[in-house]
């Protein structure tokens, strides 16, 4: 079977090779257009933009404002021009890519012509795009006349103007029109064009094709990163943060390469498979962790970090079922389509982006430790309270080094990270081939010592026409990443936790220069020692590519076959010297030192074939049909060996290890096969509709439940296209859709199979054990979503507005359901229940300005409400961990714990039972006796909040004045809570941990002192760890000043002098400030990203504050 598919692939390759020499037929370039009711000018501009034609339309008798509809597919340019100028008596001269159009009319009287000529003044100038690159093919019209020219490849134009007070109007497809008043004193004009805020003609990438926004009937968010919106981030998900309504992204850690949590329209599913599907240039990629699991103390690294954000042309987020259903499987959580940059016809453009930045950990004052005196005072108060209450004689503490200033451990392990990044790209193209090639070198330092990520990547996108009936394309990306890691996850060595949990008088080194350790003087692991005595890194080599052939069978009918792959090789190295606690010498490792060396290979191969048909009928109906098949096979293999005993720390390969203490290898595979189809209908541009159907089979399900079926339907109404619509400059579109999407993520590759596993060995003899119960009833998780949307624009697009409401019912949720252990298993994978997400999304964008000053703003907000609607077997409450509950009627991610009501101010306030049996006194926490039985137990747990925000979004403002540009970007999230799992520094005498200054200073010392922080009491866990309780649950709402960017484009005069197209310099302050009530580092924290267990902090390093300086060059 495996050989079979290899054979087919080979077959495909051979065919492709044969094709390339078999049909040596030369062909004229062909064009396709699908423009409805546009001006002749727009149609011409479309040809300029998409096919790089250059036009000269120089007569008065051609009506370029006449509205036409041009629907052609793969016709000659003449044929297309016939349609554009239908009804006008014109003739064309096509010379390569230069076209001149003249009216066929009787020659005017020679006198008049001479007279006109004598009056004309010649103006010359140059047109730039928003990036200050010269704009080829822009249209220049003398306003009020039909006198027009277009700009050349260098952006320059020259026009003879006849009027007395002439105004030149500049236009280009997808850009705002711009009028310039001419004056006779200045004959050289510079014009900068701005992209249209929201154009209905803008093309949007959808699954297996592109559509114009006008034809879109579903909820799709788009983000095209502009120069001013770039941030120095490692992966595309971080770039998207706050940009698109309904897409909530939280960056749970400031460690370079750490993964973010991306949720589109609320919680998609219960398992960790909550991430959207990422499709990069048509290849669905693995975004999940790229670790081998050898390093248990770090946060897992995102699989997205290997894609360079600066290669991204646009990101489309398919939010509703109607748009995502074409991706059926895995689309329950939405689809993020990333399109990388491609070349355009013209002279090569070289672009260099370089930046460097400094970053620091902000808000460290929130973790200030109690000084030695304050700590001892608190401890002794705790002991006094204990002795008094229990009649004991526990000894008081003595400050071992009174008056010694607090040693700042955080300073020892944190630093100012210095990062640099350089990307160079070359793009261009000829008649038949277009290319984009880029190379990136990146060095990003974390704020923790020795934590850094180095990356080198190469990217090339090439596309072209082989024959008139055959085109091809290939996108390739190769990358190498080395991530030097430190402990930052849920671990005792977590760099911040270990640095904070030290007595104020202790230091990293003993007086004799040896490490201070928990074995000699310290109370906790030495964070500096853990970093310095280890060498932990993860290397990732990744090749992501996609090649296709597109056959234009007959006009309108295309067949495309595409082969994509995502290969990655990982090498993980976890080395502890004999001086690291993980490598201390011991009886079985007398020399000390340990090395875990592991490798992982991942391969994903996808082959897709689509047949598409496009046809316009004369009575106004447009039809577009896509049919396709896709097969994907994913394979993973892993090998790990651990050696112990190294002669010295300079030996760090296992061949010198005294002993191999562990060796392991594993291999898994799964496959997906899909059939899909889509029909788009368009009636006179007024009514548009889409139907899709996809059937997906997954090897994770039993044959009888293998296939899931995901249909969708959507309708759109362009009200402004109705004949009765007279509101000029206002457009309106209504959309409605319904559809189903599936999910099978994050269940085991063999989830349905009841298995007996090997490896259950004893005393070096092979054994077998019943490892999984399996579940043949397991089937696709399915979400049915309805969406209603409206798109409006006013003032010719200067103000636009999009609103969507949605309702999403997810049923057959896949979950590893906890089960009574008498069945033999503590959980089994099943379709556990259903949930609902309802939401509202708003996006408002506007731009305004006068003369040199312009403002552009985007604001988005989304409200999502999640509710669990059904659980299998009518289970009452399922606790996925110690902090959360799943309960019907409540949100997924609800916190479930004992609620703190305040502090007992007087002994008399304490209920008798608690006073007698629990030793509760004034100063202790009042817990809510939820079940009213007089005791505080696990039965008093209640739902007390949620890890999900009530609303969230982003707000971007860009101000431009002449060549100066200021961009201020904010993100916000309101209503979510986070639990501080790290309670060590807040225990106030229960245990002898170092304490936070804020806890000690805020402690209860007598009636009326505080109602928030309890008294210090030795040996009693009532106030701290006895119950998971709301004392440690905090509001984590925030408004973050995400980035402030100041950019300056050097004047083009200077540029010409140094023969460059453009130079932009910019400064950026990222993560400038965060307004929040969260009392510790970063409110966007969680040590895992599972929806059901989200929002728990373990002193994760926060996102750094970064100051960046950068320059973009183009020449």
């Amino acid at each position: 079977m495996r050989n079979y598919s290899r054979c087919s692939k080979l077959c495909c390759l051979v065919i492709a090779t044969v094709l390339s020499w078999l049909f040596a037929v030369s062909a004229n370039a062909q064009v396709s257009m699908s423009l409805k009711d546009v001006s002749v000018r727009s149609a011409v501009e479309y040809l300029q933009k998409e096919y790089h034609y250059s036009f000269t339309i120089g007569t008065d008798d051609i009506d370029i404002n006449k509205h036409v509809t041009v629907q052609v597919k793969n016709v000659s340019i003449e044929n297309a021009l016939d349609r554009i100028f239908a009804g006008q008596n014109v003739s064309y001269k096509v010379n390569g890519k230069n076209i001149s159009v003249v009216a066929n009319k009787p020659q005017p009287a020679p006198a008049a012509k001479t007279a006109a000529k004598t009056q004309a003044l010649v103006y010359t100038g140059i047109v730039f795009d928003e990036n200050n690159s010269p704009m080829a093919g822009a249209f220049v019209v003398e306003k009020g006349t039909d006198n027009a020219v277009s700009t050349g490849v260098d952006g320059k134009f020259s026009i003879k103007v006849k009027g007395t007070s002439p105004v030149l109007s500049f236009s280009f497809f997808g850009y705002e029109d711009k009028d310039v008043q001419l004056s006779s004193s200045k004959s050289n004009i510079e014009v900068k064009m701005e992209p249209q805020a929201l154009s209905l003609d803008q093309s949007v990438v959808v699954g297996y094709g592109t559509m114009t926004r006008r034809d879109i009937t579903s909820a799709i968010g788009q983000f095209k990163p502009k120069a001013s919106e770039r941030r120095d981030v490692l992966s595309v998900d971080q770039l998207l943060q706050g940009r698109i309504a309904g897409v909530n992204i939280t960056t749970a850690s400031g460690i370079p390469g750490a993964s973010s949590r991306v949720s589109i329209r609320g919680i998609g599913s219960l398992n960790a498979g909550n991430e959207p599907l990422y499709v990069i240039d048509g290849v669905p990629i693995t975004s999940t962790s790229g670790d081998t699991g050898a390093f248990s103390q770090g946060e897992s690294m995102t699989g997205l970090a290997t894609l360079n954000p600066s290669d991204i042309e646009s990101v489309e987020v398919l939010k509703d079922a109607a748009s995502a259903a074409i991706y059926g499987s895995r689309a329950t959580n939405g689809v993020i389509i990333v399109t990388t940059k491609s070349g355009k016809k013209g002279a090569p453009v070289i672009s260099i982006d370089a930046s460097m930045s400094l970053s620091q950990q902000p808000r460290l004052d929130k973790l200030d430790l109690a000084s030695g005196d304050l700590l001892i005072e608190t401890f002794n108060e705790a002991i006094d309270n204990y002795n008094l209450q229990f009649g004991k004689t526990q000894e008081r503490f003595i400050n071992p080094m009174p008056g010694k200033p607090t040693h700042n451990w955080l300073k020892d392990v944190l630093r100012t990270g210095f990062s640099r990044n350089i990307t160079t790209s070359v793009s261009g193209g000829s008649e038949k081939i277009r290319y984009y090639v880029s190379a990136t070198a990146k060095h990003q330092e974390g704020t923790a010592l020795s934590n850094a990520l180095n990356q080198y990547s190469l990217k090339s996108n090439i596309s072209g026409d082989i024959r008139k009936w055959l085109s091809f394309g290939i996108n390739m990306q190769l990358s190498y990443t080395k991530n030097n890691r430190v402990s930052s996850g849920y671990s005792g060595y977590n760099v911040i936790k270990a640095a904070v949990e030290q007595y104020p008088w202790d230091e990293p080194f003993l007086p004799n220069g040896d490490w201070a350790t928990s074995k000699n003087v310290l109370v906790n692991n030495n964070a500096l020692q853990a970093i310095k005595e280890s060498d932990v890194w993860l290397k990732t080599y990744r090749a992501l590519s996609n090649a296709y052939l597109n056959f234009h069978i007959i006009p309108g009918l295309d067949f495309k076959t595409s082969l994509g792959e995502d290969f990655s090789a990982l090498e993980e190295h976890v080395y502890y010297t004999a001086k690291h606690p993980g490598g201390y010498p011991s009886k079985d490792n007398p020399q000390g030192g340990s090395l875990t060396d592991s490798r992982k290979l991942r391969s994903s191969v996808i082959w897709e074939n689509t047949l598409s048909y496009d046809k316009k009928f004369n009575f106004g109906l447009g039809l577009n049909v896509v049919l396709g098949h896709s097969a994907q096979v994913d394979e993973n293999s892993m090998a790990l060996q651990r050696g112990i005993g190294f002669p010295s720390s300079s030996f760090d390969v296992n061949s010198v290890a005294a002993e191999i203490s562990k060796a392991n290898s594993s291999r898994t595979a799964y496959a997906l096969q899909s059939f899909f189809g889509r029909v788009n209908l368009n009636y006179k541009d007024r009514y548009v509709g889409t139907l899709t159907m996809r059937a997906d089979g997954s090897s994770k399900f039993a044959p009888e439940n293998r296939y899931g079926y995901f249909p969708s339907a959507s309708l759109g109404w362009n009200a402004d296209k109705e004949s009765w619509w007279h509101a000029d400059g206002i457009t309106m579109k209504l959309r409605a859709s319904i559809g189903a999407t599936g999910n099978q993520g994050n269940i085991g590759p063999y989830a349905y199979q009841a298995l007996a596993s090997g490896g259950v060995n004893y005393n070096n003899v092979n054994g077998l054990g019943l490892s999984t119960p399996g579940n043949r009833d397991l089937k696709w998780e399915t979400a049915v979503q309805q969406d209603l949307g409206i798109d409006m624009s006013f003032f010719k697009g200067a103000l636009s507005f999009t609103a969507d409401v949605f309702n999403k019912d997810t049923r057959d949720l896949l979950y590893s359901k906890p089960t009574m252990i008498t069945t033999g298993y503590s959980s089994y994978t099943c379709n556990i229940g259903s949930m609902n997400n309802k939401g509202l999304e708003l996006t408002v964008a506007g731009n305004a300005g006068k003369k040199d000053f312009r403002w552009r703003g985007d604001f988005n907000i989304s409200f999502v409400r999640n509710k669990l609607t059904k659980l299998l077997d009518d289970s009452d409450i399922i606790m996925p961990d110690s902090f959360h509950a799943l309960q019907v009627g409540k949100e997924v991610g609800s916190f479930y714990m004992v609620k703190m009501l305040g502090i007992y101010q007087h002994d008399e306030d304490v209920p008798e039972y608690l006073y007698e049996n629990e030793g509760v006194r004034a100063g202790d926490v009042i817990y809510d006796d939820y079940n009213g039985d007089g005791k505080i137990t696990a039965d008093d747990r209640q739902i007390v909040g949620s890890a999900n925000p009530k609303f969230s979004g982003g707000f971007n403002n860009t101000f431009t004045w002449k060549n100066l540009e200021l961009s201020v970007f904010m993100t916000y999230s309101y209503g979510q809570s986070v639990y501080e799992y790290w309670t060590g520094g807040l225990r106030l005498g229960n245990g002898t941990w170092p304490q936070l200054k804020s806890a000690c200073e805020g402690r209860w010392t007598g009636p009326g002192t505080t109602n928030k922080t309890p008294r210090a009491i030795y040996g009693q866990s009532w106030n701290s760890t006895k119950f998971v309780n709301t004392r440690f649950l905090h509001d984590a709402s925030y408004l973050r000043l995400r980035s402030i960017t100041l950019g300056y484009n050097l004047p083009s005069k200077w540029m010409r002098a140094i023969k460059m197209n453009s130079v932009r310099v910019y400064f950026q302050l990222d993560n400038a400030y965060v307004f929040t009530k969260w009392p510790y580092l970063d409110p966007e924290v969680s040590y895992n990203s599972n929806a059901a267990t989200y929002g728990v902090d373990w002193l994760n390093p926060g996102q750094p504050r970064t100051f960046m300086f950068g320059v973009n060059l183009k020449f």
Partner: protein, 423 residues
């Protein structure tokens, strides 16, 4: 060109027709394909599961809840009882984990017995069944001594199970022990269950049920067995050949071995012996240097020292038989002599002054067991079964039984009830 497209279409149809969706694991087989031929493999699996399923907590709980240890590091409690009060809770993972381990193991044992009982009863199959009954008896011994009431399952089942009474559970333990005694193979190595191991477990179970004579009889048989003799602690706990261990799990690290050493030794040192028990070790006690040692700033348990590997888990050794024999015979039935035999072997003098009555003799035996088995999982139940727990620790009666884990009660609301003392 059309031919080519046709070829591609055909290729894609071919691909779709051959099912690429059949994928199978490389480290497991379908359960349906497991047959009698696989009995030996499943049998080896039983050893592996029996060894690791109870988890570290399962083996160590009795030491901790018996008050011999407290938590070290920064999370210090002033004394063992206050730690016990905070951790001995139905919701605490520390209490919950072993329960799930015992039942997950039971499922594997019962599954094995179901297949093996159907197979032709060759000598080999009979012996394997005997060992399976031994494992089930050991599992239920742990369950009944800790929880008193619990679901009794002779066969696997997915239905919600009710608790059975303490008597029924003991009867089931005895029934399995009898089968094990009849079917287990003779002793060959300490890493496998033998007839002798079954006797040792039976002696332990009988003394717990107050069947003193039966317990003493079995213990004496083992003491008389030429295969075994008391041996040095340094051999027993340092992985050397010795004549004392009757049955121990090999607990190899690559076979899900449980790492004990890391819990007791630096740098983590989570569990530290209480000062009282440290002070009890006399200097001439040969057990002392292996039982405790000074590591960094603390005196720690020294029985398990393989930090990056693991130590064997001893289930039965001859010293226990001496102490069961002594307890079974009683002060005046020859018990004191047995106790002194052990003391002399450990480098100590005869007990002096000699206990005046049975009660004092039991106290003496418990004191000896405390030193002999520190960190081996006996203390709590020793105190409970002899009715000394509340007096010794000052804790209320409910701590003489482990609560049924809250999570299991939540998952089986139909049939499962909390222990009366914990309601």
């Amino acid at each position: 060109m059309k031919k080519i497209i046709l070829a591609l279409l055909t290729a894609s149809i071919i691909i779709s027709s051959c099912d690429i969706l059949d994928k199978y694991p490389h480290d497991a087989v379908s359960r349906d394909s497991v047959s009698e031929e696989d009995l030996e493999l499943l049998y080896t699996g039983l050893y592996c599961y029996s060894q690791y399923k109870p988890g570290f907590e399962g083996y160590f709980q009795n030491d901790m809840t018996g008050g011999d240890f407290f938590r070290g590091g920064g999370s210090v409690w002033p004394d063992a009882p206050s730690w016990i009060k905070d951790f001995f809770l139905p919701t605490n993972g520390w209490i919950q984990a072993p329960y799930t381990g015992y039942y997950a193991l039971l499922y594997q044992i019962n599954s094995f017995i179901e297949v093996a009982e159907k197979a032709p009863q060759s000598d080999k199959v009979r012996q394997m069944l005997g060992v399976a009954y031994y494992f089930r008896a050991l599992d239920y011994y742990n369950i009944v001594t800790k929880y008193r009431i619990a679901p009794l399952m002779r066969v696997t089942s997915n239905d919600p199970q009710p608790n059975s009474t303490e008597e029924a559970l003991w009867a089931f333990v005895n029934e399995d022990l009898e089968k094990a005694l009849a079917m287990c193979p003779e002793y060959s190595t300490k890493y496998y269950v033998s007839l002798q191991a079954a006797k040792a477990l039976a002696a332990r179970a009988y003394i717990a049920q107050g069947k003193k004579a039966e317990a003493a009889k079995l213990a004496d048989e083992l003491i008389a067995d030429p295969l075994f003799a008391l041996d040095d602690f340094s051999k027993i706990f340092r992985g050397e050949a010795n004549s004392e261990v009757i049955f121990t799990f090999a607990n190899l690290p690559e076979e899900n071995g449980i790492k004990f050493a890391g819990e007791f030794l630096q740098p983590a040192t989570i569990y530290v012996p209480v000062p009282e028990v440290i002070a009890l070790f006399k200097d001439d006690d040969k057990r002392k240097s292996i039982s405790i040692t000074v590591d960094g700033s603390e005196t720690v348990l020294n029985k398990y020292i393989n930090k990056s590997s693991s130590d064997p888990i001893i289930i039965s050794r001859l010293a226990e038989m001496y102490l069961i024999s002594a307890e079974g015979k009683g002060l005046n039935g020859g018990g004191l002599a047995r106790l002194n035999e052990l003391r002399r072997a450990r480098g100590l003098q005869d007990l002096s002054p000699a206990p005046k009555n049975e009660e004092e003799f039991i106290d003496a035996i418990l004191a000896e067991r405390r030193l002999e088995f520190l960190g081996e999982g006996f203390r709590w139940y020793d105190l409970v079964r002899t009715g000394r727990y509340m007096k010794t620790t000052g804790l209320p009666e409910k701590y003489t039984v482990f609560p049924i884990p809250q999570r299991q009660l939540d998952l089986n609301t139909v049939n499962l009830q909390q222990n009366e003392l914990w309601k």
